[in-house]
Structure formats: structure tokens, C-alpha cells
């Protein structure tokens, strides 16, 4: 097998324009989501064996700083989904490859438009600018399940 080495700087100087950046971001978001999934699946499986451990682990997710990580995960999955749709469309209707640059822009714009309200809903509560999403539903649940771990915090 031939071994080719290209430095990072050389790679980034390559002017592949929209297609290259979409490809790079697709790869980065995919690997990032896979890394998170490994942690997420194991930690969620723990709920079956030790709910107490699971509730402890959840405290990490409830840290305000982690909200930005959650937003990054949301963005990663959304970008991967929209850009992936573009790739599927181009693969099955190859003549659309002639419009791949415009389609890449369209994918990027769709992602940004969706991210605007999502960012507000997820981040505004951290700064006290809005209620936590799902608060109403949570309070209703806590009337019936006063002993649920997340409800104990509400009582305090």
C-alpha cells in the first residue's frame, strides 16, 4: 500500500470550497456523535441496573456548562442529517451533482434556520431568559410522583 502524507496545513490550503467543508464537517460531526453515543448508551443502560447511579450521572448533564455541549450534539446530528440527505439525493439523482454547490448552501441554510429557535430554547434558560423547556409537563408529573428524583429538587 502506498503511504501518502499530507500535512494539516497543506490539507486546509486545498481549495475544495463548499463541498470540501461540508465533507469535513460531515466527518467531524459523525465522529463526534459516535464518541458521545458510546458514553450515552452505556450511561443510559445503567438505569436498568442502578437507577441511583444513573441519577448521579445525570447531574453532569444538568450542569449549565454542559448545556452548550448538548447544543453542539444537537447541531452535529442536525447537520449530519441535513447534509446526509443532500448526499443521498445527489447519489440517487446524479444529475443534481451539477447543482451540488447550491445544494450545499441550501443544506447549510436549513441547518442554521432550525438552530436559531433550538439554541434559544436550550440556552436561554441557562441565563434566566426563559423557562426550562418542558417545565409545565414536569410540574404536572411531580404532582403525581412526588418521590421522583427530579421532583425532589422542585420541592426544595
Amino acid at each position: 500500500m502506498e503511504v501518502r502524507n499530507r500535512g494539516l496545513v497543506t490539507a486546509l490550503r486545498y481549495r475544495g470550497r463548499e463541498g470540501m467543508w461540508a465533507w469535513l464537517l460531515h466527518r467531524a460531526t459523525g465522529l463526534g456523535v459516535l464518541f458521545f453515543l458510546i458514553i450515552h448508551v452505556i450511561e443510559t443502560a445503567a438505569v436498568v441496573y442502578s437507577p441511583e447511579f444513573y441519577d448521579e450521572a445525570l447531574q453532569i448533564y444538568k450542569n449549565p456548562f454542559f448545556r452548550f455541549a448538548e447544543l453542539l450534539i444537537f447541531f452535529s446530528v442536525l447537520f449530519h442529517a441535513v447534509n446526509g440527505s443532500r448526499i443521498v439525493i445527489q447519489d440517487f439523482w446524479p444529475y443534481l451533482m451539477e447543482r451540488q454547490r447550491q445544494l450545499t448552501w441550501a443544506a447549510g441554510i436549513v441547518v442554521l434556520l432550525v438552530m436559531v429557535p433550538v439554541t434559544w430554547i436550550m440556552v436561554a434558560p441557562v441565563f434566566g431568559l426563559a423557562e426550562e423547556p418542558g417545565l409545565e409537563r414536569h410540574l404536572e408529573r411531580c404532582v403525581e410522583r412526588t418521590q421522583a428524583p427530579a421532583c425532589l429538587e422542585v420541592v426544595e
Binding site: 500500500m1 502506498e2 503511504v3 501518502r4 466527518r27 459523525g30 465522529l31 456523535v33 459516535l34 453515543l37 458510546i38 448508551v41 452505556i42 443510559t44 443502560a45 445503567a46 438505569v47 436498568v48 441496573y49 437507577p51 441511583e52 444513573y54 441519577d55 445525570l58 448533564y61 444538568k62 448545556r67 448538548e70 450534539i73 444537537f74 446530528v77 442536525l78 442529517a81 446526509g84 440527505s85 443521498v88 445527489q90 447519489d91 440517487f92 446524479p94 444529475y95 443534481l96 451533482m97 451539477e98 433550538v118 430554547i121 436550550m122 434558560p125 426550562e132 423547556p133 418542558g134 417545565l135 409537563r137 414536569h138 408529573r141 410522583r145 421522583a148 428524583p149 427530579a150 421532583c151
Partner: protein, 145 residues
Amino acid sequence: MTVAAQVDGRGEPRRGGGYDRPKGRLANFEVFSWFFMRISGLVLILLALYHLIWWNLVIGVEHLDSQVVIERWSNPFWRLFNVLLVTFALLHGLNGARYSIEDYIRRRGLQIAVKTIVYSVVLVTLVIGVYALLTFDPASFFAIR
């Protein structure tokens, strides 16, 4: 636009670049892998985006606890949903990681070593996740509590 020449082992050049599928050839592993990424990707758009919207925007991470998850999993539909989600997501991710490893790690020995580690971690995670979902027994859960 330049017209690509006919190359052995490829189908006809097609509009937009690339070639048609060669006639009369059986699909190999890479063709299957390519197709799997498209199909699992389309399924995951529905499953993963629903999952993200539900837990981040409708329920809210702040309101999560073990009880919420146990209540959700008491319904076999949601356990099946999660089995499908975790299986498709991890296999799609594993194959994507394989593409990256094969692109960046060119030394054969190192590539095999890295693949062994990544495949093991992802497949063990998949087994843990699916096993937990399939053996989850809501009845015994609520009996203890």
C-alpha cells in the same frame, strides 16, 4: 463539460459525473456498505431527530431522572424504538469510523490495531445497550419500589 472515457469494470459515464453501476456484476461488501449508510441514514434522520427533539426540547434535560426513563421503557414500543435507534446509530457510526480509519491510518499494522480497538468498543457498547433494553422488566421494577 468533458466526457469521461469508458473504463474497464465501470458502467456508462453519467450526467453529473461518475458512472452507472456495471451490468451483470454482483455487489461486493463496499457496495453493500454504501447502501447500508444511505438506508440507515434515512431511518436515523427520523429516529435520532425525534429522540433529540423529545428529550431536549419537549421533556428538557433538567427534568430527567431514572423514573422518567423507566416509565418510558415500560412501553414495549419505546424499547423497540430504542433498540432500532441504538443499533442503526452505532452500526452507521462504526462504518463511518471505518471510512475515517482507512483514510487516515495507512500503515497496515497500525490500521488493524486501531480497527480492533474501535470495533470492540462500539460493538460492546451496542451489546450493552440492546441487552439492557431487551432484559428490562418494568413489572419487577415497580414491584421493588
